[in-house]
């Protein structure tokens, strides 16, 4: 505590209680062309970051999804236990592999299978092509963390326009983890050659379901 007190005493503004308004940031001007629906914009920007967007209902996307997973050598799927849309997608996907079903706990325990982790996204950000996942309500982040391929189920109704829009629900009281995921894990650390799958997933796929038939929850 000593060093902290000593430091704060040396710095401007400490000990005066509240930090105050301090020149609040100006309101964000709309960054996106207003005539493009956020979901369409999201599809553009997520693809630009190296991600893959499959549009339509989960049923409609299954063949393409199955093929994409097979192409990456995926043999097993996992999903959060309490994530109904992800469960339904995974179960419907099994015959398109065929894939086995494993659990996040097993993957975390070192299961060597090539996996796809499926999770419903908490939101999507159109500005940057970003999937938002948080731990609020005790949700797991393992699919986007540990899987070789990350599959996000994103209802179009959950797409917001900007980074600010995505953060404002958490003002004042964020959950422990908020993750913004924009495309696959990347590195160019060796000879400046872009490669995916450094630590996180090698491939990021979004199932972008249309607004009229938005998934419940």
């Amino acid at each position: 505590m000593d060093e902290r007190e000593s430091l704060l005493r040396r710095l401007p503004g400490a000990g005066k209680g509240r930090t105050g308004e301090a020149g609040a940031p100006p309101p964000e001007r709309p960054l996106l062309p207003a005539d493009i629906p956020p979901a369409d914009r999201f599809a553009e920007t997520f693809t630009a970051s190296g991600g893959v967007v499959l549009r339509g209902t989960v049923e409609e996307a299954l063949p393409a999804l199955g093929e994409a997973l097979r192409a990456e050598g995926v043999t097993a799927l996992f999903f959060p236990e309490d994530d109904e849309p992800a469960r339904r997608a995974a179960e419907a996907l099994v015959p398109f592999g065929p894939f086995t079903v494993t659990t996040g706990v097993q993957v975390r325990g070192g299961d060597p299978a090539v996996t796809a982790g499926i999770r419903t996204a908490d939101a999507g950000i159109a500005e940057t092509g970003t999937i938002v996942e948080t731990s609020a309500g005790g949700k797991t982040l393992l699919p986007g963390l540990l899987a070789d391929v990350h599959v996000s189920v994103l209802p179009a109704s959950r797409v917001v326009d900007s980074l600010g829009d995505a953060l404002s629900p958490f003002a004042g009281d964020p959950p422990r983890n908020i993750s913004f995921l924009s495309g696959p894990s990347k590195t160019a650390d060796i000879e400046q050659t872009l490669t995916t799958g450094a630590h996180g997933p090698k491939k990021a796929i979004v199932l972008l379901s249309p607004p009229e038939r938005a998934e419940q929850e």
């Binding site: 020149g23 940031p25 970051s49 940057t128 913004f180 650390d189 400046q192 799958g197």
Partner: protein, 470 residues
């Protein structure tokens, strides 16, 4: 990291002669610069975001104490323990103590320049902890036993052959020239570490005061892993990394990835706040935040305070023609390029790094690309003047300057000397270029000719012309 800044001259000559490094530098910095330019051109809101980011950082400097106080309170409210280190020795001592108290034997680390500043890894290792760097570039140079040579591309100087040799020797992996295969090897090896480490160590791109959050901006995903999977999370950051509000973050996220590598956004942005909540399936049970002063509060009080706005994007390195020629190692410390030429003397002392402010042509390319508008060329000039005030210039240079000024005070004397030089030039150089100048100007003529002085200086010619009615 050990300081070797005053060897810049010698080290830069070594770098220029290193063909492999020269190729790597050409590949990297040029590409980063082009990508940055393209990303900025594609985003009409860039200048506005840059202006806002710069103003927010300026406000942070004006009220750093208040914002840090708030950050500490909010972080501790949510389960973190916040430590403050006055200097590197104290930082090392705190780090070792945390590892011991938490019973950690294996720590996985993601990128932190601040930790590098205080030789963090050595401190942990001395306390019996194995530290594994997880940023692919940092992992590579850790295996090689070298310091990073670029803020965001630490292994920019290593070829795939060199990397493969390292992986063969240290990881027992087969030789390959496939970069995806090399990345897969690192992924497998480091995954095992992440899953078994007792502590994840990270830096912090931003510290958010109004929520006590740490923000990590990465492309690889290792930052997230290290701050979510292990039981303990330790974040190391300089005190100046704070921003006032979560609502300020978007503008920084708009300028940082674009400035660093020309991306509209990095693959991952992780905002972590405190310890695991009841019901969270993942998350650290214990969280420590180590804030470093290490010379920053002193800088804040002086004329260079704006340098603390730096968000460590590396854009100035990529834009700097000197950095592009010699790479990061030549600057002899953690920070290189234009920001290093200013920060190193300020943090480590000007006498120990007086060579660095001179390592620039003051071309201004850095100031053009700095996302938070730090006036780097002005600071380089100021440091050169400080060097004179602190007696760090050679008597030869000072005598030369005094002589030069003495001549320039008298136009008549100047003209007389010019006419003598012109006559000598005509006599000896026969009006052609001069191939060899005496010390201390000999540096010029190593590979360049120097012009012979005009037989008659312009001022004399003008007098003649005026006399002739011209």
């Amino acid at each position: 990291m050990e300081l070797n800044a005053n060897a810049f001259g010698r080290n830069s000559r070594k770098s220029l002669a290193d063909k492999g490094l020269q190729e790597a530098l050409g590949r990297t910095t040029g590409r980063f610069s082009l990508h940055r330019a393209a990303a900025v051109a594609a985003f009409p809101g860039f200048e506005a975001a840059r202006e806002r980011a710069s103003r927010v950082k300026q406000d942070v400097l004006d009220r750093l104490g208040a914002y840090l106080e708030r950050f500490i309170a909010e972080a501790e409210k949510r389960g973190a323990t916040v430590h403050v280190a006055r200097d590197a020795a104290q930082a090392r001592e705190i780090a070792a103590r945390i590892a011991r108290d938490e019973g950690v034997t294996l720590a996985v680390k993601s990128k932190s320049m601040a930790a590098e500043e205080v030789s963090f890894n050595e401190a942990l290792e001395a306390a019996g902890v194995t530290v594994v760097e997880s940023d692919l570039g940092e992992f590579i140079i850790q295996l090689a036993g070298e310091p990073p040579s670029h803020i965001i591309a630490p292994a920019v100087h290593k070829t795939r052959e060199e990397v493969s040799r390292l992986f063969e020797r240290h990881l027992g992996e087969a030789r390959t020239d496939s970069i995806p295969a090399l990345v897969a090897m690192a992924r497998k090896h480091l995954r095992a570490k992440f899953l078994s480490a007792g502590m994840g160590v990270s830096g912090a791109n931003f510290l958010v005061a109004d929520t006590g959050s740490i923000v990590l901006v990465t492309n690889e995903g290792n930052g997230r892993m290290g701050t979510i999977l292990p039981r303990v999370h330790l974040a190391v950051a300089g005190i100046e990394k704070v921003i006032p509000r979560m609502a300020d973050l978007p503008d920084f996220l708009r300028v940082l990835p674009r400035s660093a590598s020309g991306q509209a956004i990095s693959s991952y942005v992780s905002i972590v706040t405190g310890t695991k909540r009841p019901g969270d399936p993942e998350g650290p049970e214990r969280m420590h935040i180590l804030l470093l002063d290490c010379g920053r509060s002193a800088i804040l009080e002086g004329k260079y305070r704006e340098v603390l706005k730096c968000i460590r994007c590396g854009a100035c390195l990529n834009a700097c023609p000197v950095y592009q020629s010699v790479g990061g190692h030549a600057y002899g410390w953690v920070y290189s390029g234009p920001i290093g030429a200013v920060l190193t003397p300020l943090l480590a002392g000007l006498p120990e790094a007086a060579a660095l402010p001179d390592a620039s042509t003051l071309c201004g390319a850095c100031a053009e690309v700095c996302p938070v508008k730090i006036p780097l060329p002005d600071f380089l000039l100021e440091l050169r003047s400080d060097a004179r005030d602190q007696g760090l210039k050679t008597p030869g240079e000072i005598a030369g300057m005094k002589g030069y000024a003495a001549v320039m005070k008298r136009a008549g004397l100047l003209e007389a000397l010019e006419r003598v030089a012109g006559a000598l030039g005509r006599l000896f150089a026969k009006g052609k270029g001069i191939a060899g100048l005496p010390y201390p100007l000999s540096g010029w003529t190593e590979r360049r000719d120097f012009p012979s002085p005009a037989p008659l200086p312009f001022r004399k010619q003008w007098k003649i012309r005026r006399g002739a009615g011209g």
